[in-house]
């Protein structure tokens, strides 16, 4: 990744924002590209869930190959795709994977939030039955 040694090999980074809360930073160079995502976090609970869920995925970055262990500063998760990945893996499938990831992430976090609320409600009901 020629960041430090040769700035002429870097292309213009592209920042795409859907709104104030969700954005995607794409930094390219001649042999690799880094995609960083910031997912929507509407309240404190979604904030915690998103952080934990994405940390879970990042810790297992080796299994994903294209995932980065640590997200870029200011973002929730980062992908690093190198030319080696493009040789081993199909480019179109890589693109589909990333797009699918972005579509599913919001759904996953909503589901997690709902299951937390349901569990909380059940636990509270059971506990308060004794009073």
């Amino acid at each position: 990744m020629p960041f430090m040694t040769s700035p002429e090999l870097l292309l213009n980074p592209v920042l795409i924002c859907r709104n104030e809360a969700e954005k995607c930073l794409i930094e390219t160079s001649i042999n690799s590209l880094r995609i960083s995502l910031k997912v929507k976090q509407a309240d404190e609970l979604e904030n915690i869930l998103a952080k934990k869920f994405l940390r879970f995925l990042s810790m297992r970055a080796e299994a994903f190959q294209v995932l980065r262990r640590k997200p870029v500063q200011g973002y929730d998760i980062s992908f690093l795709i190198t030319n080696y990945h493009c040789e081993e893996l199909q480019k179109q499938k890589l693109i589909d994977f990333i797009v699918q990831f972005m579509e599913d992430i919001d759904k996953e976090i909503s589901e997690l939030k709902m299951s937390v609320s349901t569990r909380g409600r059940l636990v509270a009901t059971e506990f308060l039955k004794q009073f």
Binding site: E8, L10, L11, N12, V14, L15, I16, C17, R18, N19, E20, K23, T28
Partner: protein, 133 residues
């Protein structure tokens, strides 16, 4: 490229800022009576400035013109293809602002512009590190 740099070097920053202000006023005067096509053409013309303040002032004017567009297809049909690349660069600048209304409008324009101009347009906006917006 060298001639253009020399040209920019001879006007100082204040002159360029004044020129950009005039351009902004002209764009506004074209937006009021619903002439978005001319507004966009005025906004996209002219060599993009090198200085950071000038770039910002220029971007403000272009943003006004972009937000005034209602019929994206119509505008793109009547726009000269030589302006597609520079429009794409401004669209990406708009997308990086994070402001909801700007981003919505820019996403709409981006979709139609990609249909018309193709992926090469996007790639040129990525790889052109010299003439940045």
């Amino acid at each position: 490229m060298a001639e253009a740099e020399k040209f920019m070097g001879s006007d100082n920053v204040e002159d360029i800022l004044t020129k950009i202000e005039n351009k902004s006023l002209k764009i506004e005067s074209l937006i009021k009576p619903y002439k978005p096509i001319e507004a966009i053409k005025t906004a996209l013309e002219g060599y993009p400035p090198q200085d950071e303040r000038c770039k910002f002032a220029n971007w403000i004017g272009v943003r006004k013109a972009l937000m005034a567009i209602k019929d994206v297809e119509g505008i793109l049909r009547s726009l000269n293809p030589q302006y597609y690349d520079i429009l794409m660069k401004y669209v990406y600048r708009g997308l990086s602002t994070g402001d909801r209304t700007t981003c919505d409008q820019c996403l709409k324009i981006h979709e139609k512009l990609t249909e018309k101009a193709g992926f090469g347009c996007i790639l040129r906006s990525l790889t052109d590190t010299v003439n940045t917006i």
